[in-house]
């Protein structure tokens, strides 16, 4: 990350430096203590040595003293010249009278006569560099004859001490150097590890782009800098449209490959200084500096959308990874990071709503919409909990006989304040959250209950069709839930038809097919909604165990003037698979006639019956029963 360069020295390095300083201080103190100890013991040893010399002299001059032989006493004293530390020595009689003395050559002044018994002090162990005075009694057969005083100089001791100090200093420096080398190597390794950790913590391992955390850090920093420089920046959020499908159909390896290609494409579509990051599974973010006008933001977003709309060559397939792109500009659309991100998010949502492969610029009204969506979500949840929704039923007729054979349950919501809210508005809101599961469950339960009621005394069962969302199908216990609802309502399974869309099934093939098998095994009917708008693969028809296909209203609308080949083909294909065909959105008698002629099994539309309340549909069924002739 670039911003790591702005930081100060690594705290580990700082720590190593402090440790080293502490180590140096400790060495200094221990060296000082050793020196003091050495000074004390050197002085003690010097005192001991001088005492030995004094004792030897005392022993040797006893006879000289007894025979008053000064010359021989001086001869004995002269032996001291071989002892370097002895500066002077004196022999005194027991009466305190001076008898003989020795002075090392080179001494001057008061030192010549300093060897006197009065100068001898008993304190031997002390820290001093003064001359050492020691005395020894001259004894012969237990009788004291006099005293020998020896004065030892400390020059040798000081010299030894200096050598010792130099040695300690050298050893300390050596130890310090070793410690320095070791700690600096260690801190270099730590710094390396820190750098690696920093890299790992801030980088997406798959694409090598900065991750979410690093992106937001950098975003914060750039916006702060931008605020002072009064410059613009566009935050562009990118979400791949069908990434999940790629993952599910081609495997995760292909999904990863696609992400890598997308990362490269994004990096290539902006300048080096711009920031590109992978902030989620299939979500990317780009921060672009804007030089002049605000429109540069949406232009860049569109360029990105175009760059991602081309096919990417993966090892096993070529994939068009279209993306929805939302853009918001700082400081025009938002003045802080949080609102910039949320406005870009709102723009991205809007782009997704528009359809695939769209780039949408943030507009303040979007915030209103987003708030409305959030409010709708909360209130829809409440509505489900309090049974504030209701169902309407659109009749389905057998094409040939125009006999009522079933109804499609459709959910309606009358908001206490806003009035009626269309399913087109609130179902996507529910789809965006897990609310769709609760909503679907509510619809299923209510529809089964109603159907059980109207079928209670009917000779011919009127089936009910209920739409199922992909999220519901993904629930592992979905088939069990459906069976439980059926058991609870008492509705016969073959009177329940679940409508699934092709794209939903494709998004989760394995689980979808498994759930469908279980449902079919329980006797529940299945139909494929909106057939013809998605992939419409024939192999799917083989693997999906469905009873009916619903031809999308888009194909029915141009009939009978246009579009006959497609509808004819679908009908004959479905029939050859042994699958029934339901035509939606039949509004003209001519359409009905054509469909009948083409062999369509069931029709549904405003022509034959609009969605109606439970009471109305029940009434219709009753009248149908009494008068089997069709109304139309």
């Amino acid at each position: 990350m670039k911003h790591s360069a702005h930081r100060g020295p690594s705290p580990m390095k700082e720590m190593a430096r402090i440790k080293l300083a502490g180590f140096g201080l400790a060495l200094f103190v221990s060296g000082l203590v050793l020196l003091v100890y050495q000074a004390l013991s050197l002085r003690s040893a010097l005192t001991d040595d001088a005492t030995v010399q004094a004792d030897m002299i005392a022993d040797n001059v006893a006879a000289s003293l007894m025979f008053d032989d000064v010359r021989s006493a001086q001869e004995v004293l002269r032996s001291l010249r071989k002892v370097p530390y002895v500066e002077s020595a004196g022999i005194y009689t027991s009466g305190g009278k001076h008898f003989a003395s020795y002075v090392r050559s080179g001494l001057l002044g008061p030192e010549l006569t300093e060897a006197e018994p009065t100068k001898v002090k008993p304190n031997r162990r002390r820290l001093s560099f003064d001359d050492v005075f020691v005395a020894s009694n001259i004894m012969q057969n237990g009788k004291a004859l006099g005293t020998v005083v020896v004065v030892a100089g400390t020059a040798q001791m000081v010299e030894a001490l200096l050598h010792y100090a130099a040695f300690i200093a050298g050893a300390s420096l050596c130890a310090l150097w070793i410690a320095f080398v070791v700690t600096s190597r260690m801190s270099a390794r730590i710094a390396q590890a820190e750098k690696k950790l920093e890299y790992l913590a801030s980088t997406d391992p798959l694409t090598g782009l900065p991750n979410r955390r690093a992106f937001y850090d950098e975003l914060n920093e750039r916006l702060q800098r931008g605020a002072t420089a009064c410059s613009r920046a566009a935050l562009i959020l990118i979400d791949l449209d069908d990434f999940k499908t790629v993952n599910d159909t081609l495997g995760h390896g292909a999904g990863d490959e696609l992400l890598k290609h997308v990362a490269v494409a994004l990096r290539q579509s902006v300048r080096m200084a711009d920031l590109v990051s992978r902030i989620g599974g299939d979500e990317f973010a780009v921060l672009v500096a804007i030089a002049k006008e605000k429109a540069e933001g949406i232009r860049t977003a569109e360029r990105i959308a175009r760059a991602l709309a081309r096919p990417f060559d993966l090892p096993r397939a070529s994939i068009v990874a279209s993306a929805s792109v939302g853009v918001s500009v700082y400081p025009d659309d938002a003045v802080d990071v949080a609102s910039l991100v949320s406005s870009a998010d709102i723009a991205l949502y809007a782009a997704k709503s528009v359809g695939k492969n769209a780039a949408v610029e943030f507009h303040p009204s979007m915030t209103v919409e987003a708030r409305r969506r959030a409010r709708l979500e909360t209130e829809l949840r409440k509505a489900i909990e309090t049974d504030a929704l209701h169902l309407v039923y659109q009749p389905q007729f057998e094409c040939r006989s125009l006999r009522l054979v079933g109804v499609e349950a459709l959910v309606r919501w009358v908001h206490p304040v806003d009035g009626e809210i269309t399913p087109g508005e609130f179902v996507p809101v529910a789809e965006d959250s897990d609310l769709i599961v609760a909503l679907g469950q509510w619809v299923l339960r209510r529809a089964c209950r109603d159907a059980a009621r109207w079928n209670a005394n009917q000779a011919h069962g009127i089936q009910v069709a209920v739409n199922v969302s992909a999220r519901q199908l993904r629930q592992t216990q979905f088939a069990e839930d459906v069976k439980a609802v059926l058991a609870e309502s008492g509705l016969s399974p073959h009177l329940l038809e679940l409508e699934l869309t092709e794209s939903q099934l494709m998004a989760n093939m394995t689980a979808g097919v498994e759930a469908m098998r279980q449902l079919r095994a329980a006797g529940i009917r299945l139909s494929l909604d909106d057939f013809g708008t998605g992939y419409s693969s024939l192999s799917y028809l083989q693997s999906f165990p469905v009873n009916n296909l619903k031809i999308d209203r888009a194909f029915v609308k141009p009939l009978p003037q246009d579009g006959q080949p497609i509808v004819t083909a679908i009908i004959s294909m479905a029939h050859s698979f042994g699958i029934g065909v339901v035509a939606e959105g039949v509004e003209e008698p001519a359409q009905l006639a054509w469909l009948d002629h083409a062999g369509c099994d069931i029709v549904q539309g405003f022509l034959t019956g609009k969605p109606m309340s439970l009471e109305a549909i029940t009434e219709r069924m009753r009248s149908e029963c009494e008068d089997p002739e069709p109304l139309v």
Binding site: N60, A62, A63, S64, L65, M66, F67, D68, D69, S72, T93, S94, G95, K97, Q140, N141, K143, A144, L145
Partner: protein, 172 residues
Amino acid sequence: MSRIVFVLLALAACAGLQMPAHAQVDLYSLEAAYIYNFTEFTEWPGAQPSGALTVCVEPRTELGVALGKLNGRAVAGKTWSVKPIPEAGAVGACNVLIVEDAASSAAAKSASAHDAPTLIVRAADAEAGDAPYIVMLTRDGDRLRFDIDNKEAARRHLGLSSKLLRLARNVI
């Protein structure tokens, strides 16, 4: 003269006695003090009759008188016993024999004294001819010097301290 006073003072200190300040200090006293000191540095062989150190001297001479004053003093655990020189046959019993004149010289030369462990000290101014000696005192101005015949001492199994030997003017 001051030296003499010092030696005598040292002697007094050794003997644990206080010398009277008015005592007459002369060369014979100094000589006696020297002889007394010699016995400090001499070892007699074998088991000596403990308690007594027999010093044989002609009692009538001035040196004899001076030595007589030291009678009863203790030296290394033994008591000085100053006696006249005995008959020639009993000279071997002397631990120390002072030779001053012809008579004492003859005693030193006598057969009984020939191999005895006797410390023969020839006094200064002695007229002793060729009589054997172990320590020979000589006068050097107002002070005394001494020569030692260590061979003779060894022959008689007497141990003389090296400290004493070192102070001798000549050692034979």
